[in-house]
Symmetry: C2
Subunit: 255 residues, 2 copies
């Protein structure tokens, strides 16, 4: 087969792609809250993302209670912006809707790891649309994986029922900083044709990126480290070790 | 705090949000392949998505080999469009890069479920940007969860090494159909302020959506079913039961 005619002469400058390329995580926000109409718009855009067989296995909690925001800010780092940003959300895989339906029909809810994977994937397809929609409206955003430091406490703060699995938080608001873009691995180190490359090829791409990453940290005035050094620190011991037990306690199967 | 001034007077019509709202899964494509420059553009846009501490725990395999495409099309349904579409990708969580780095430093790679969650989430934030970028260039797309019908075979076809965990496929190409939009649950049934609603509220939202969903299927000439009926069929028995064992065999910890 031959190529389609090139689909856009301006492919790297269309507004959707420009919005994506403009992304940097924002950690400092101007005071104020996000108007409801903008949140509703981002919801509809988020929900338009694909979802496996329309199962829509996710939900999102908009945390407006100030004391609860502060408690989550503390356990997630502390990261004070969780409290101070314009809007803070917790994105959850939501198996509860399905559980209620199945039980109402007199059946018993039964899935394996598949439901956890679909919940995590579809929540994240939603979340990225939702986030990008907010960014297209001029807001800055930052995902907060730090809520996984203590999910039992998040669960208690939000009083989540069985089947609702908090995955990560999201801060949004009007940016009050303009950080530089953190460089990524080259596309050639992430996109492969037909087969995963040899370890030599992978390590060579990593070595090249190591220097780019170190320079980025140096330019920001942060403690210089190669990417390899950062990765090594992160993955040479298990972190957030209670995660599996917590999700299981909320009704997820990981088997 | 008071609201920020409304950030856009045209919030529901900006091009990024319009591209999201225009999404429908496309399953019939015109012959031809996607030019490399468009794939590269979508890669850079995809990689611009947030990634936890820059760990970039994903990769994407562009399957161009026709026999391999056909084998995956067969096991995923069959879904012939996996073979026939303009480009077919397999999105993977990629822990291998980290494993190689940690081992090269003389440490041993060790994580729990956290690495699997980060891999699945970050791969999906990437994938949704990548997909939306392709859609903004005029292509149609369809995620293919069906590869999880038989991941051991996908693994063999693509000859994936330890640490590379295939999650789902993605078809893309110039659309050769124009299906209607599948309705979603109302935003009120997905976005909650501070707390998850009572079961009565949830069931009431589901009942309302049941009729919308049935009408949609009827209008498409498909076998009518409420959403509840479809969900009940899907989640009253475990599906893809080998999934956890397969991911574990590829080096993922689910504990």
């Amino acid at each position: 087969m031959t190529d389609y005619p090139t689909h856009s002469q301006t492919e790297s400058t269309n507004p959707t792609i420009s919005t994506m390329l403009a992304h940097r995580s924002i950690r400092k926000f101007k005071p104020g809250t996000i108007p409801q109409n903008n949140i509703q718009t981002a919801m509809r855009a988020g929900q338009a993302a694909a979802t496996s067989s329309a199962v829509q296995p996710y939900c999102i909690i908009h945390v407006t209670d100030s004391a609860n925001r502060q408690a989550i800010a503390d356990l997630a780092g502390p990261q004070q912006m969780v409290h101070d940003c314009g809007a803070f959300f917790v994105i959850c895989a939501d198996l509860r809707k399905h559980m209620l339906i199945v039980e109402a029909a007199g059946e018993s809810y039964s899935t394996g790891l598949e439901a956890f994977v679909v919940g995590t994937v579809d929540a994240s397809l939603f979340a990225q649309n939702f986030t990008l929609a907010l960014e297209s409206l001029g807001y800055g955003t930052c995902y907060i994986g730090g809520i996984r430091n203590d999910l039992p406490q998040v669960n208690e703060i939000l009083n989540l029922p069985t089947g609702v699995l908090p995955l990560y938080g999201l801060c949004a608001g009007v940016p009050d900083e303009s950080p530089s873009h953190r460089p990524r691995l080259e596309p050639d180190a992430m996109l492969f044709e037909n087969a995963y490359p040899s370890d030599e090829v992978t390590m060579s791409a990593i070595k090249q990126y190591d220097e780019v990453y170190k320079q980025y940290l140096t330019d920001r005035g942060a403690k210089p480290s190669t990417w390899s050094e950062a990765i090594c620190k992160k993955f040479s011991y298990a972190t957030r070790v209670g995660l599996a037990a917590f999700y299981r306690s909320k009704g997820a199967s990981l088997d």
